[in-house]
Amino acid sequence: MKPLGFIVAAAILLPLLSLATGLDPWTLQPDLRLEAPSWAHPLGRDDLGRDMLARLILGFSVSVGVAGVSALGATALGAGLGVWAGTRRGWVDLVLSRGMELTQSIPKLPLLILVGSVDLTRFGLPVGFVTILLRLVVLFILLGWLTAFRVVRQSSLEIAARPFVEASRVLGMGEARLVFRHVLPHVAAPLRVVLAIAFSEFVLLESGLSFLGLGVPAPWPSLGQLMARGASSGGAALILAPGLATAAMLWWVGARIDPGARPSNKSGQMAVDASDRPR
């Protein structure tokens, strides 16, 4: 996915750029709180006097990081299990498919709220940026592998039954090599779409959780956390900027996923192109 690559690159480069240009997302300046946008601070300052542009950039990176790592993890987990179920079949497929249906019936947000409000110190874990983010990522992965599993299982079931796979097996190709040589290349294209969808979903989910105060912890910004702060402070730029950034990013990803119109189907004319000719 080209947009995802660009977004991740931006998430890495923009904070460095803002650091290099001297934008500081941390320093509190209470006497300058809610300062209106100016050339030096294009989005103004937030309710604690921190530069909003620097915080938006950092929050964007945090959100993209959480959603990106979760999407990669969930897609990899789902793809791995899907290949396993699709090529092994039998009881492996049975157990994993029922497991998928079980996970599917768990509503995401309430579970995340429940687990998000668990006090980590009870289990001897330090409460910090990293542990809370890790908890978020692990939960997202455990809840988000379903789409990848469904897609990959279906494709590998179909591909494993094709003659060339059977031929390879007869010629003595091992199961592992078979999977990497024949099955995975075939599911790569749909997997990219699954990855992009998972990324969008996780951005929205993280945004909702952080908005409720259960996501990314306080001094660190994220897109959802910035929305919540913007709402309580009431500044126009503080409310609009994080949402518009989210919308622009997900729009870009979404526009690449949705199917376009077939080229020759103008006002209901019968489509005539190469794929319509009898084979």
Binding site: P110, L114, S207, G234, L250, A255, A261, N265, S267, M270
Partner: protein, 268 residues
């Protein structure tokens, strides 16, 4: 909060209760007192449940119809400006977090212009939400679900518009309106039913973020608060209700899907 007579029920958590009495009480539907409100759980929950259903029922129905209409329209005129515009709208609204849409609505209509008031009221003293408290969440939820479902309808409809039976009908001289309504719409509506059934538990148990933004006294907010404030009886009952709703909605959705879609009719 006006004084209510002390609830005439056993406290199931009492240490002097007989063994098994908690289970018996549970079977009678007594799930204990809310720690936060000091009242029986159902007394706390039922008004919230009605408030949520009053909001989400219309939202669900409206979203279904609009998603079908807009999705079909954007597929039918996919190359024209009209269809592209509809698709852009669908993309835009599915890209914006629901709570942010709500925030902007509140910010514009309540804070900036003062056209509406949300009011900060005690859900027990006055359980009926104000007009803005009803209308704004409805608009927010509908916008999000129409966008999400509409994109799905659009992609199914685009596929259907090129399917061989539709092309055959077209070659026989069938006009586009009939094609859209007779061939494409049913094909797009059936998977949408399954999608709606999947979302029903989320909607019926209340959308926490939306209810938070608008201060709407619904189930989602109640469950969220009970988890955060460690109100265990309310949280446990809320989640159980949720589980039951999920089971019921998924089963119902499967059954409806089976009846509507001939391809899955024979399968168990």
């Amino acid at each position: 909060m006006d004084a209510l007579p002390a609830p005439a029920m056993t406290d199931v958590g009492a240490p002097d209760a007989k063994p098994g009495s908690a289970l018996l009480a549970l079977l009678r539907g007594e799930v204990g007192l809310s720690v936060r409100y000091g009242r029986p759980v159902w007394e706390v929950m039922v008004p919230r449940l009605w408030a949520t259903l009053a909001l989400m029922g219309p939202a669900l129905a409206l979203s279904f119809l609009l998603a079908l209409g807009i999705g079909l329209g954007s597929a039918r005129w996919a190359r024209a400006g009209f269809g592209r515009g509809l698709h852009a709208g669908l993309l835009l609204f599915s890209s914006m977090p629901m709570h942010w849409v709500g925030l902007v609505l509140v910010w514009i209509l309540v804070v900036q212009t003062g056209w509406m008031t949300l009011g900060d009221r005690d859900p027990f003293a006055d359980p009926s939400p104000s007009f803005a408290q009803r209308a704004l969440p409805l608009v927010t939820v509908v916008a999000f679900y129409v966008a999400r479902w509409g994109r799905h309808v659009r992609s199914v409809a685009l596929e259907r518009l090129e399917a061989s039976d539709v092309r055959f009908a077209r070659s026989l001289g069938c006009d586009e309106k009939t094609i859209l309504l007779r061939f494409v719409a049913p094909g797009a509506a059936v998977p949408l039913v399954a999608l709606v059934a999947q979302s029903f538990p989320v909607l019926a148990s209340g959308l926490v973020v939306v209810e938070t933004v608008f201060g709407y006294p619904g189930m989602g907010r109640l469950i969220f608060d009970s988890v955060v404030l460690r109100d265990a009886p309310v949280a446990a009952s809320g989640f159980s209700l949720y589980a039951g709703l999920t089971f019921a909605a998924t089963s119902l959705g499967d059954e409806v899907h089976r009846r509507l879609d001939p391809r899955v009719r024979g399968r168990p």
